[in-house]
C-alpha cells in the first residue's frame, strides 16, 4: 500500500494519551493571548451591527430592506440558506464520518460541530426576523394552543423547515455537548483556578470515566450519529423544498434536494477549512490538524463541488429539454439578464476554482487551500443569490417584473450575523477544547511506549 504510506499521518508521531491531554488542555487553561482580545473585540463590535439592525427592524419592519414584490425574499433568505449550508459540515464530520470509521475526523469534529451550532444560530436570526412581525410569527410557525384557536399549515414546506431547522439545532447542540462531557471533566481535573474547577466541574456533571459511563456513552454517541446522519441530509432537503415546491421557474426542479445537500457539504467543508487553517497555526496544533486533514477536506470539496457543477448543468439542460418557455427564459435571464454578472462570478468561484484541487501541489499548499476555501464560501453565497433573486425578479408576468437592490440595512444584518458567528467562535476557542481530547487519546494510545504491542516504536522521537 504505497499510496497509504505516502499520506501524512493523522497525528504527528510521538504523542501519548498524556501529552495530547496536556497539549490540548493547555490551549484553554493558559493565559489569554493578546490576539484573542483583538479578534473578539472586532467580532463583537460587528455583532452590535446585528442588534442595531434588529432594533431598527422591529420599529420599522422589513421595509428597511430592499425587498419588494415580486422579490419578497432578498438577501435575508440568501443569508439564511448560506448559513444553514455552512452548518452542515459539523454534523457530517461528526456523524457520517464516525459511522464510516474515518479516524481523521477526530481532530476536526469538535470545532466543526461548534461551527455548525453557531452557523445555525446565525441562520435562525434571518428566518425569525424576515417575518417582520416576530410576535405574530410565533403562532405562524409554532404549533401551540393559542387564544385564537389557530393552527399552522402543516402541508407547507415552510412549516417543515421550522421543524427541520429546530430539530437540527437541538440535536447538534446535544451532540456537541455530549461530546464535550469527558473533556469538561478533563478540564475540571486540570484547572488550577477555583473558578475553572467549579465551572468545568458543574458542566462535566460529575463525569468519572467509569466502565459503565463509557459503555453507555459510546452507545449513546453511536446512536446519535446514526440519528444525525439522516437528519443532516433531511435538513437541506427540506430547505430546498421551500423553493422546489413553489412553481416559480428556477425553483420548481426535482434536482433541488440532492443539489442543495451537496452544496451544503461543499460550503460547510470550505468554512471548516477557512477556520481550521488559522486555528491550527495560532494554537500550534499542526501536529493534530495535519496536512492529511486538509487534503481530505480538499478532496471532499472537490467531489461535492463537482456534484454542484452537475446541478448547474442539469438546470440548463432541463430548461432546454422541457421545452418550457418560462424555464428557457429563466436560464436566458440568469446568464444574460441584469444579474448575469453574478452568475458568471458564481461559475468562476464554484465550478472553475475547485478544479485546482485536482493538483497535488495545490492540495499540499496551506495558502492555496485557504484562498480556495474562501472563494468557495463567496461562490456559495452567490449561488443562493442567483437561485433566489434572479428566479423571483422576473417570473411569469412581465408586468410584475422588478429589480432588487439590497439596502445598507440588508448588508448590516449580514455583517452583523458574521459578527455573531465569529464572536461565538472566539468564545468557544478560548473556553472549550477545540479538539476532542478523549478521542485524541484513543488515537495516541497506539503510540504509547508503555503498551506492550508497540514497544518497538518506543524509540521514535
Amino acid at each position: 500500500m504505497s499510496a497509504e504510506a505516502d499520506r501524512p499521518p493523522v497525528i504527528a508521531p510521538g504523542y501519548t494519551p498524556a501529552t495530547v491531554t496536556d497539549k490540548i488542555a493547555a490551549v484553554v487553561l493558559r493565559k489569554t493571548p493578546k490576539w484573542w482580545y483583538a479578534g473578539f473585540a472586532i467580532s463583537f463590535l460587528a455583532a452590535q451591527l446585528l442588534f442595531v439592525t434588529m432594533a431598527k427592524l422591529l420599529v420599522e419592519t422589513v421595509g428597511i430592506w430592499g425587498i419588494n414584490i415580486p422579490v419578497a425574499w432578498g438577501i435575508d433568505i440568501v443569508n439564511f440558506v448560506w448559513w444553514i449550508g455552512i452548518g452542515h459540515a459539523g454534523t457530517l464530520i461528526s456523524a457520517i464520518l464516525l459511522l464510516l470509521r474515518q479516524q481523521w475526523r477526530t481532530s476536526i469534529n469538535r470545532f466543526a460541530e461548534a461551527m455548525t451550532l453557531f452557523a445555525v444560530a446565525a441562520a435562525g436570526q434571518f428566518v425569525l426576523f424576515h417575518t417582520g412581525r416576530q410576535w405574530l410569527a410565533v403562532y405562524w410557525l409554532f404549533p401551540y394552543p393559542n387564544t385564537m384557536g389557530l393552527w399552522p399549515q402543516f402541508r407547507s414546506p415552510l412549516m417543515w423547515d421550522v421543524f427541520a431547522v429546530s430539530t437540527y439545532a437541538t440535536i447538534s447542540a446535544l451532540f456537541w455537548f455530549v461530546g464535550l462531557i469527558p473533556d469538561l471533566a478533563t478540564l475540571r481535573d486540570r484547572s488550577k483556578h477555583w473558578f475553572g474547577k467549579i465551572t468545568y466541574g458543574m458542566l462535566a456533571m460529575g463525569w468519572r470515566g467509569s466502565a459503565r459511563h463509557w459503555h453507555n456513552y459510546e452507545t449513546a454517541s453511536l446512536l446519535l450519529a446514526g440519528l444525525a446522519t439522516p437528519l443532516v441530509v433531511s435538513v437541506h432537503t427540506v430547505v430546498s423544498f421551500d423553493f422546489s415546491v413553489g412553481i416559480i421557474p428556477g425553483w420548481h426542479a426535482t434536482i433541488f434536494p440532492p443539489y442543495f445537500v451537496a452544496g451544503a457539504i461543499y460550503s460547510g467543508f470550505a468554512m471548516v477549512m477557512t477556520l481550521s487553517i488559522p486555528l491550527r497555526k495560532v494554537f500550534g496544533l499542526e501536529d493534530f490538524i495535519t496536512m492529511r486533514h486538509l487534503q481530505n477536506m480538499a478532496k471532499i470539496m472537490l467531489a461535492t463541488g463537482l456534484i454542484v457543477a452537475y446541478g448547474y448543468g442539469i438546470e440548463l439542460f432541463m430548461a432546454w429539454y422541457s421545452g418550457n418557455t418560462f424555464e428557457q427564459y429563466m436560464v436566458h435571464n440568469r446568464i444574460l439578464g441584469p444579474y448575469g454578472w453574478i452568475w458568471f462570478l458564481l461559475i468562476l468561484c464554484n465550478v472553475i476554482t475547485p478544479q485546482f484541487l485536482w493538483l497535488k501541489k495545490v492540495r499540499n499548499s496551506v495558502v492555496g487551500l485557504f484562498v480556495i476555501s474562501i472563494i468557495v464560501n463567496i461562490g456559495m453565497w452567490f449561488e443562493r443569490f442567483v437561485i433566489i433573486v434572479t428566479s423571483l425578479h422576473r417570473d411569469f408576468l412581465p408586468s410584475s417584473w422588478d429589480m432588487y437592490t439590497p439596502t445598507k440595512w440588508d448588508w448590516s444584518f449580514f455583517v452583523g450575523s458574521l459578527g455573531l458567528f465569529f464572536s461565538l467562535m472566539f468564545l468557544f476557542i478560548r473556553f472549550l477544547p477545540v479538539i476532542s481530547i478523549f478521542e485524541m487519546r484513543t488515537i495516541a494510545k497506539g503510540e504509547d511506549p508503555a503498551s506492550a504491542d508497540t514497544k518497538e516504536m518506543a524509540g521514535r522521537p
Partner: protein, 205 residues
Amino acid sequence: MKGILGRLFARGVMPEFGTPGPRIAGGELPAHLYGVIAEFANAEELLHGVHEVRKDGYQVMEAYTPYPIEELNDAIGHGPSRVPLLVLLGGICGAIFGFGLQYWASVIEYPLNIGGRPYNSWVSFIPITFECTILFAGIAAVLGMLVLNGLPMPYHPVFSVPRFQLASRDRFFLMILARDPRFRAGDTFRFMETLGASHVSDVED
C-alpha cells in the same frame, strides 16, 4: 410491558447508587470506607487486574479509564447498555407525537378546506413526523445516557482520591466497593497490591 419497565428500573442499572450491602459481622469494616482503589499504568494491566479480581470472587467493582475500552464493560461484568431501548421508545413516541399533532390540528381541531385537498394529507405530514422521531430519539439518547450513568452527580467518593485526577489523563483505576460481599478492609487492600498496581489507596465515603 412489565418486562421492559422491569429491565429499565432493575437494580444494578446504576451500580454506584444505593445503600451499601450487608456489613461484615464483627465490625471489621469501617463505616466510612467506600472501597479500595488501585492505579494502573496502562489498559493491559488494568484488564489483567480486572480478570484477577473477578477470579478471586469479587463482584461489585468499577474501573475508570481516560478513554473508552471496548472489552472492559464485559470484563468487569456489567450488562449491556439500556440506551438503545430508550432510544427506540423515544423514537416511537416522537413518531406518534409528530403525526398525531398534525393529524389532530389538520383534521379534528382546525380543518381547512383548500381546493378540496384531503384533511388527512398524510404524505405532507411525513417530513415533520420524521423530524419529531429524530428529535425525541436523540433527546432520549442523551437523557438516557445521563440517567443510566447517574449524572449529574456533583460529588462522588472517588473524587476524594488525589491521584484520581489522572483518570482523565493517562492513568487507569480499578475500585472494589466496600459493599462487595467478599470485601475485607485489610485483606482486599493487600490483595490489590499484588496486582501490579502502582498505587493502592482507601476511598473514604
